[in-house]
Symmetry: D4
Subunit: 250 residues, 8 copies
């Protein structure tokens, strides 16, 4: 039974106040042995608990999905593999995007609200950009995608600048030298969430180069998340977007 269902039942008088309290208390976390699942996180922080799949066995992931699904009716996992997908599919109907590694159960909110623009520097940044876009969409934001707009051919970026300027928040994804957020930040109004990627080699040092660039942006209005952390960017952008809409998440 999901929490919404629980509350519906309470409003409909089908369960007592005492029963509701007990259920809420019981659900404050669910002990599964290896994991303590946190189903009320969405009530508390405006965003659900999301499952980081690497380092977890397929069975562990499937068990966590199953528990969260029973509470919330929808679940998101990140950086999942085909084996995680198959295990989760045995407990519920799931969707899996092998490019971004996003694995999910449940429908998106019916009326996606707000607007997040995702702009990326190169085609090789696609998996991270898609992880950002898919996460924001799962959470309920509308997302516009503008890929392969790196500064080496800056007119490609200018061609989408009006769309970027009209968004509530921009996610800028770039590897190699990671200059994209600085350039965008000097040109448009919305706040920018910068995502360094590990695309590159040599003195890129697995994304350190792009990360430092984004930390040192000469254009203000830029905040960065971890290297390759498309999920974190999508999540933060959705929070900003919801804040911009003056409404509670979810």
């Amino acid at each position: 039974m999901t929490l919404d269902r629980l509350l519906d039942d309470f409003e409909a008088g089908q369960i007592s106040r005492e029963k509701l309290k007990q259920e809420l208390l019981r659900q404050s976390f669910i002990e599964t042995g290896n994991a303590k699942i946190d189903p009320l996180r969405e009530w508390r922080t405006g965003g659900p608990e999301v499952v980081y799949c690497p380092g977890k066995t397929p069975d562990q992931v499937a068990s966590i999905f199953d528990h969260l699904n029973r509470c919330n009716g929808r679940v998101l996992g990140t950086k999942a593999g085909q084996d995680h997908y198959e295990a989760v599919s045995r407990v519920a109907e799931a969707r899996f995007d092998p490019v971004s590694g996003l694995l999910s159960i449940g429908a998106a909110p019916e009326k996606p609200a707000g607007r997040v623009a995702v702009v990326s520097a190169g085609t090789s940044d696609l998996p991270v950009a898609e992880e950002a876009a898919g996460t924001a969409e799962f959470l309920g934001s509308r997302v516009d995608r503008h890929f392969d707009c790196g500064v080496a051919g800056i007119h490609r970026l200018f061609s989408v600048m009006d769309d970027l300027g009209a968004a509530s928040v921009i996610i800028a994804v770039a590897g190699m030298e990671g200059a994209l957020p600085s350039v965008v930040g000097g040109l448009v109004r919305p706040p920018i969430v910068a995502v360094p990627t590990s695309v590159g080699y040599g003195a890129n040092f697995q994304g350190l180069s792009a990360l430092l660039t984004m930390m040192n942006s000469c254009a203000p209005g830029v905040g960065a998340v971890n290297i390759d952390n498309g999920f974190g960017a999508g999540y933060l952008a959705h929070k900003i977007n919801m804040s911009a809409l003056g409404k509670e998440d979810g």
Copy 2:
């Protein structure tokens, strides 16, 4: 003549469309020899050009303040010293906060709007926290300050959690291990701008420790700016705040 004044005059019919265009063109930047001042940045990006004072002589800073003041009527400088303050004071009436290093000309917008909560971990983080708070205030946000709320005495943090949850955006400032944004991020709804500081010693490596912590936050909804970059945090928070209010900046 400030840009607002220029446009007032145009609306009042006191200058022609051709004159306006010429002025705008002329003002697209102002060449001063060592600097190209960008007075229209606020129109373009929603935030004014702000003067980074280190590495500039007092005379250079004063000259840039003077030019920007003529265009915009108000100017902000960061990480300024007493010598910068004295030089600027010779060209206009200026305010200087030696704790944060903020140096400014001009009044704050009349009706500060929106709400930014600044929470910091320790008393030694005060200069950076004040730089963040002062920047957001200069730009037009209302700011609540909650200092010395580090996780070593986490009940201090809990005592301000309701205030944090009610803000449009939170700025979390911490040195040493920098765990504050992660803990806050797991408890409240607003998006969080994390600022690592260089407070600490040894394996702190001048703030690297706190920076990496904020990059790796297990609680999503957190974006980070550069070490000790209170200005950048205040600027980004103001942008998010303005976005949340559904209005144009400034």
Copy 3:
């Protein structure tokens, strides 16, 4: 013949003082060609020689286990693989936990004494947390396990705080930003052994992020071991636990 057996025989008058001395001298180390085995280490330092398996061939590991087993009657190996297990199984009955990589011969001390609490941040930290717990158990401590208590849902941590406060020593295991030991250290009395793990990606830099966090803990009372070094944490915690019990180890 184990050392205990040797001393039993001496006490029983079955071997002479001269014979005992010779044996002890001979056993001060055992030359096996590639290794110099140190069977008296437990007498000297209160903890046995433990075999670090990576970089050793299965045959080398089996030979060292065989020699230590003859002296001490029980042996522990760390970060072992299935191939090490199979080779050791050919010389003695062995136990192997593929999650933690612990490989052992011999029974645990009959009356486990003292109490070590192992608390970990996430499910992906399980292998390291189990290595810590299993090591302390092998050495003779009683161990309580509290897994998946990361600060992103801090009420999960609070739910086990009383148990943590009642332990002689706490082992806190965390990857990503590694904030767990700081938060625990601000709330309870026991000394804390912190274990950074390499769980995470990007600016985690294979555990460097968590390591630096633990080095810079704003809550004192925390000492750290190497990244992913569950064994070292379990060993140190057992030493503290034994010290707390006012008795000699083993």
Copy 4:
């Protein structure tokens, strides 16, 4: 009024239960504007709040000392300078050790209990070693000092090995290559708190060399604190020592 005095009064019937509760509540932290003082930390964690002086003005430090002194009757500050000492001296009688930078108010506990051995590698490590020793003494441990026992003349270390072996816990302080804890750890029983120092130059990288050595100790039973963090080592050692004595701190 200190907390002990408060409780004495309550036991003596001089204040009511309601009054006691109010006082405790009020004291849960004391807001001083720039700082939130945490006087009950010692009750909660077994160790008092200790004031990290760098980055705080002398007036800020004096104010915090004053508040903590009123509550607890004794206060410790670390890495203080002469100016901090002078400011604190204006609010209470204080002691200052310029070698270690320890600044304190109030007498040590009457009957120091337990035994911490501090062993250091070289004369240049003295300030950090003294910070460790002085902290443990302030908290109530008895401390034996063994300085200049570095491994370059290992017989110096052997001359004190019996004393080290008899302690409840050893603090090993070393700069340069920092090998001291590894060597000690292979020879004696007590748990070891390792403190890397920044003594050295070149590839020492301000203590990184010694820190990494202590992280990678081939002898187990070693936990490390931050570079130059004598305070943290003394604090952790005191906690282990108290645990060894089977009694509550303070």
Copy 5:
């Protein structure tokens, strides 16, 4: 006697072939005790020996200037201080630019040839940009300066793009995130010498951020020199410029 004078004399028959050979041999280097001066370097490599002043005493610098001046008639020193200038002034008429730290003796080549464009990101980069410009001018290139053209206000850069495109070689100087060379490299034809500067703070890590950016430029046609190495950039640009002119240097 300079080398040119020596050869003039030889061509004029005023010295013999044997005398010339002896002189050349003698001049292959000049031993001054602490230094081996290399007056023929310009013949060999197309650029003169240039004196790196830091770490040398004023007397050492003056002595080296004196010897090189006798051979070549002109000398350049870098990163010099006022004290170096005063010492050199005692042996010859010298020029000193305190902004760039360039110290020189002798006139520039009469007919400066070729064209180097120096473009810098911010006013704080001025000392390095001037070091680059002054070096190229000393060596004989014509130099155009375009300062404060950083990407945060990219229209400032576009305003000088035609001038940049018309140069034989571009020197792009930038600190903070150092994105300038990438953006320029995507827009114009000339080869680019990129100079990272240490302008910035925090995660700038004394110029590492800008250096890595320039190493990872997504726009090809960019080669980088050391952080703050304006001299090296000016030298390399002059070599490319001379190569472009199809003539021998100097």
Copy 6:
């Protein structure tokens, strides 16, 4: 239709000025969904868009090659694998060099002009050296190869010094300590493009050692590209070479 063909047709009167403008505008970039192809980059910057293959699927690479081939008639890809080659072969006749990873379509310019000398330190540096050489050749430079000339047997380097001195530009490729460019730079006139390689192990840190060496060259006239970036070196050298020839590229 390639751009040359387009212009031929325009000159021949077969298409109108309006049609030409439309085509150029349309070709300013070509949106393929995941990529924005930039066919006019060669007109703008003197060098074509080159495809960085890692992180792109074979189908993505083939699609980009196909589009660029239709515009320009020739395409270059770097660090390609056998699978990229096979996919591209299905859309056009392609050449692939498995040593350097260069994958190309189309003939080299008919009359290769200018002269680039590639000198490498060791046989293991061959793949990077060939990438540099092959790139410069593809772009239209004549290339001389001098491999295995490392400074450990410096007479091997001296044997090719005359050839190096006669080039317009030198590419110096070296791993391990990367001293080759410094030594060459002290001996000959042409500008030097230095390429660090990741050849080596241990404290080589995947090429960092050679990179830092080249950044700190005591011989000026050296600019560096990224570790293993033979492509970037070949591209920059070609630009310098073209500049030296006083002609437009391509």
Copy 7:
């Protein structure tokens, strides 16, 4: 024909002085296309050219071995694999030690002279220690091996101290914290060549920890080679050994 054979023939009058000169000239290096073989290196530096096998194809290695064998009659390769061995075996009778990766052709010098002691810390350091020992033996030194003498059981080290003290030079091999050379250096007279290994994990950072330790040894008389560079240590030790014997190498 080897060089010794060549000189024998010349001494025996079987070839003329002119023929000898020609041969020497021709052999100054041998161009094989991808490699410039340096057969006279042993004459010049007292040690032969040794083939670093990683990054070279089996055919390249075999070709270089073949050429060097023709000149010198014996060849050594390092870090070779089974595939290199098989390729070389097709051109000459070769020996291969899979533990150390040493691959060689030709007999050791008949009367090995001098004495090198190799002492290593742990069994996992065996491959590097054997590479050092095997290299010194190939070059003509007598080698004593003392393995698994790490400082965690320091009596194992003391048991071999007399042997170490009697050597001309000591090679000390250690991973993890790498303290072995410091301890040895404080106890015996011979110069020490220290070899850090990459044995360990976590904050070992692939041998960086041990490298820094050896750089910062508080006991002087220690020089270090690269991480895992057993070859370099064996080579340097042989040079010191030869120098100690007052004779020319080889």
Copy 8:
């Protein structure tokens, strides 16, 4: 009374065997409170205890000098300042070289033996080179100095190559890219002690660049000491030199 004097007296029958033993035992180290002086180190390791002065007060240094002087009759201190010199001068006649920071008491051995060649790259490396030379001379080696022979003008190096080749051991000192030892190592026979210096700026990273270069030397026969550690190089070279002479040190 020095140890030599003690032994002279014993040989002359002026003190008894018992008295000698007592004295030796007493002298095994001398406890001075903050330091444990090790006067027998020279007997044990062939080199005396040398005093590292930084971080020690002038009084501490003077006290240690006084004790060592009483035992050995001569003392060496490194990286000393003028204040250390003045304090030591109050206890004995001392010599101080402000360039190298060497501070000493007592005459050099009467008949300096053996030959160490010190070669340095630039004039700015002089302090470190002199520290190396002065240390070896103090210990009893004859030293030849060859300064300013960097690879940027490699003929300067060739001019001294015969002298280098004739030494028992070479010390090669270099900052910036630190290529000198590699080049020398490819040309001459003696073993080489490499000393990286912190001369340089930017990506030199305080000597890291030169250190890594020397770790990765493609020419074998090179061992490195710490950055700026001229003392360690002189000490190691003296040990090698003594070994080469087949005699005991000192």
